[in-house]
Symmetry: C2
Subunit: 187 residues, 2 copies
DNA sequence: CGGTGAGTGGGACAAATGTACCAAGGGGCG
DNA sequence: CGCCCCTTGGTACATTTGTCCCACTCACCG
């Protein structure tokens, strides 16, 4: 399954063949057909794995940051650093997650997983928004989730030097600053 | 090329075969190999077509809305309605554009087109932000673009009834309201 | 210790697929 | 009109790919 995810990231979803996966995983061809009923099942389980791991990882990060009473700038720093680190160490992960999203529109079996992933994103974003001083975390969460995934997508599509410093961090800080400034207005 | 885009949207990028495209387009098999040097070339040109049409369409919408001095709520309405309309009438278009983004990381030939698309998005978002009263349109544009593409992605992955009313519009209004409220603070 | 069953390794095969080839059409230009 | 070339329609073929099958290993359990 991990070999499958790597292939999706490096060469696209249609580079995922039994043979390519088996070779990368270092198992004979029949290994992939023995463990997975079909190629579709393999793809599906790989997506599910990626989604679950992502949820776990996010929970670790947010649950560690939330109690710390960070400023919005520190939140932006921390999230930008985490995302940038992920993009460098395993760029295929986010590619696979986006492909998961696109596939879930076509495969009912993946919808549940995509739903779980989006739900976790929203929950964690609301938690972070509350910790950062938002006056309406439930309203901010969808905006934050959308913006972050949009930023990740932009970096995947057009990888560039200095993305974290020049784009990711300023955008996140601007967003967080503005979302949390509502309290000041209404006060 | 249009048949190719439809196939990408409906059955995924690896459903794009010469035969499937030819059948859908109503031409013989050799029609696809005659006009396109290879399957990759066909995919590439289809992506380019989708991107160019999207830029044109966006320019029409934004250039029509910008001079009207809309409130942020009206901006949110207009954009939400446009996006919802697109999702309904040709859902495969956005799927194809996301696939274009993911592919552009792998195909240098697509990078230029992805760049053009992102550039147009940023330019138009900055224009809209300025028209809506942002005090720093250049800083807001990346946030707006990321948030909108993230929202589109969420709807593609998990199509749901009432998305426009329940998610898209509230999220856009919240975002716009907060981004443009900065002027009030600093004033 | 013998058997048994999960897992491995290698190969086979039919279907799908990319691509090349060729014969025929048909409209525009001399 | 007659020629030519762009285009069409159909077919052929080598390769790739999904899937299946079977002989074999070997750790575990009675």
């Amino acid at each position: 399954m991990r070999a499958t995810l790597e292939l999706i990231g490096e060469r696209g979803a249609d580079a995922v063949t039994h043979r390519a996966v088996a070779e990368r995983a270092g198992v004979p061809l029949s290994g992939t057909t023995y463990w997975f009923e079909s190629k579709d099942a393999l793809l599906q389980e790989a997506f599910v794995l990626a989604a679950r791991e992502e949820v776990e990882r996010l929970e670790r990060v947010v649950l560690e940051l939330a109690p710390r009473e960070l400023t919005v700038g520190e939140w932006a720093d921390a999230i930008a650093a985490t995302l940038a680190h992920q993009s460098e160490t395993e760029p295929e992960r986010h590619v696979a997650l986006f492909e998961l999203g696109l596939e879930s529109a076509r495969r009912p079996a993946l919808r549940a997983e995509a739903e779980r992933l989006l739900g976790a994103h929203l929950r964690l974003a609301a938690l972070g928004a509350r910790a950062a001083g938002s006056d309406d975390p439930e309203a901010d969460a969808p905006v934050i989730v959308a913006a972050i995934s949009g930023l990740i997508f932009a970096q995947l599509a057009l990888p560039r030097q200095g993305f974290e410093r020049d784009v990711l961090r300023p955008a996140l800080e601007r967003l967080f600053e503005r979302l949390t400034s509502g309290a000041a207005i209404r006060a």
